[in-house]
Symmetry: C2
Subunit: 345 residues, 2 copies
């Protein structure tokens, strides 16, 4: 494959971290991204350079470009944590070389050369050779959400209680978890922001779907908690909603924060519950999980490909936005509910 | 021993729990306690009736009488979680009978017949026959604080880091922990509310003692945290002070709440730290620890008696208040720093 010397991409405006909380979807991308041309990077010894076919946008990407994520930004480099494409060149490491020419799902991780560009760099270990039966739309969103879903559902399964609670119930991630839960007879309780999402999520397997904006939300929540006794709370939101849910949960409950969609203050309403009810608060980060449970990664990746191939899982597509239109269209596409937005270089 | 039919005691005014947070020391005792006479109770089969010589007042007692503790109040029964006295009668259980006539430290636990009265009821298993070398002032405060100190220092020791942080550094409990820590080469970092407490606590073995009221407190805290890298935070306070400390602590820190002296809102300043820095928030309750680690109780009790006998530990006495004067004097005595207040029936 002949490589050009330059490539187009959506480049980071900021550097490092930001102290200012920002909205979960910015009203405009200009403060965070600018389109530009930069030199095509060379992969390191254990890395692959991938010609990107399609890249996805996750909430963690938005947190990253706004400086709210757990990794520092490098100004002028392309953003985008994951995508799908063809391996165009590799380093000298034998495993990296074995990927040459293959179609892979990839996560850019700490390479600092993200997926919202014509070419991206990823560690070979973070590239997954794909079955032909996996669509580009599924492959481009196959790592961050599906592996997080499998890892977090593992936590639910180990806790042993059938019922568990999730905020942001209509997110792609939660839908994946609902699918896993239904299959094994677990009872997800989810919160949503729109009534029309309720039948959809119940259809997928949610035991209860509560509208957090409803006037009787807290009363409905207490009733459901009393009946179902959920002890795991997978939380993408924090802020007042999450505080209320944790407060209503029974003894020995665990509030597991994996996202921060609400920038409002997160209050522990009754710290006495930590003491007398043995409740606790912790976090989940896929990168940390992969460090701690390396042996579970291979099986999880295979499981994800099978599920996307046979249709048990399927990524809902809100929009596929060409790279050139991204600055103008991303904000309006990202606020639409229920599906995923992709960037097509 | 001939038993009277009636006894005097400080009786609970409230029933069950209260939803209203109250000050760590109430301005008056009347809303919570009233002096009165009631029938001397009969011990159950596995219980002992103790003629109380001296009873202590812990922060957990105040939380209990105001309805903020993890156990419900029973209106009209005496308050008081621990004390020292002579076993006046027992149930028929052989171990209970073996305690007859002995001087014991006792915890009333769930008996609902507390120590702030002429007679109290405790499970025989919660009575500790005393060495003659242990003073009444030490024996009356030998269970709640010393066992909590030994149990929480165990958590510090297991974590492995030399440095750890404690709020309410001048409390009896923290002084006990500082003593344990000094002996094993650990480095306690404590917060206090008065400058004059600083040399005292450094003398006992605190590596750093910071005045939380000082203008440069947060800067001083950051500097100490950077130098010492503490990962365990034993917190009696919650509220803004505890939030600031947890926020300043490094990766993988654990905020362990065991008290709620500040009724102000407890905010998780940066929930992202739970995700990306693997920090977590949990609670400690002696009753829960005793349930989980039954085998550690006997050795801990023996260790506590030895320390009080040979002078390594010693309870600082603020006041010994006769039962008849308690209603009038307790509030003013309890606000005095550095020592413990006792009730003498």
């Amino acid at each position: 494959m002949t490589l050009p010397s330059e490539m187009r991409g959506l480049l980071l405006v900021g550097d490092g971290y930001s102290k200012t909380p920002s909205a979960s979807v910015p009203e405009a991308m200009e403060p965070y991204l600018k389109p530009g041309s930069i030199a095509v990077p060379a992969p390191g010894p254990t890395q692959a350079l991938i010609k990107v076919s399609l890249a996805s946008i996750n909430p963690s990407d938005i947190a990253f470009i706004t400086g709210q994520y757990g990794q520092p930004r490098v100004q002028g480099r392309p953003a985008g944590f994951e995508g799908v494409g063809i391996v165009a060149s590799t380093g000298d490491d034998p495993y990296a070389k074995s990927l040459a020419g293959k179609r892979v799902a990839f996560a850019t991780g700490v390479s600092n050369w993200g997926a919202w560009a014509e070419y991206a760099v990823a560690e070979a270990a973070s590239c997954i050779p794909l079955l032909d039966t996996v669509r580009d739309e599924d492959a481009a969103a196959m790592i961050v959400n599906p592996l997080t879903a499998l890892a977090m559902f593992d936590i639910v399964r180990e806790e042993g209680e059938r019922a568990f609670i999730m905020t942001a119930g209509a997110s792609q991630l939660c839908k994946l978890i609902i699918g896993l839960a239904k299959q094994e007879g677990f009872r997800p309780i989810v919160t949503v922001r729109r009534d029309e999402q309720i039948p959809l999520l119940k259809g997928l397997g949610a035991a209860h779907a509560l509208n957090e904006k409803a006037a009787d939300f807290e009363a409905a929540l207490r009733e459901v908690v009393k009946a179902e006794q959920p002890r795991i709370f997978l939380d993408a939101v924090t802020g007042p909603l999450a505080s209320a849910i944790f407060n209503a949960m029974p003894k020995r409950s665990r509030w597991i924060v994996y996202g921060r969609l609400d920038a409002e203050a997160t209050v522990i309403r009754e710290p006495g519950q930590l003491i007398f009810q043995h409740k606790r608060i912790e976090g989940f980060w896929l990168a940390e999980w992969m460090r701690q449970f390396r042996d579970r990664l291979g099986p999880a990746v295979l499981e994800a490909q099978k599920r996307f191939s046979d249709g048990r899982w399927s990524t809902d597509v809100t929009a596929v936005v060409p790279l050139d239109e991204a600055m103008a269209r991303l904000s309006e596409e990202l606020v639409k509910p229920n599906g995923k937005v992709f960037v097509k270089p």
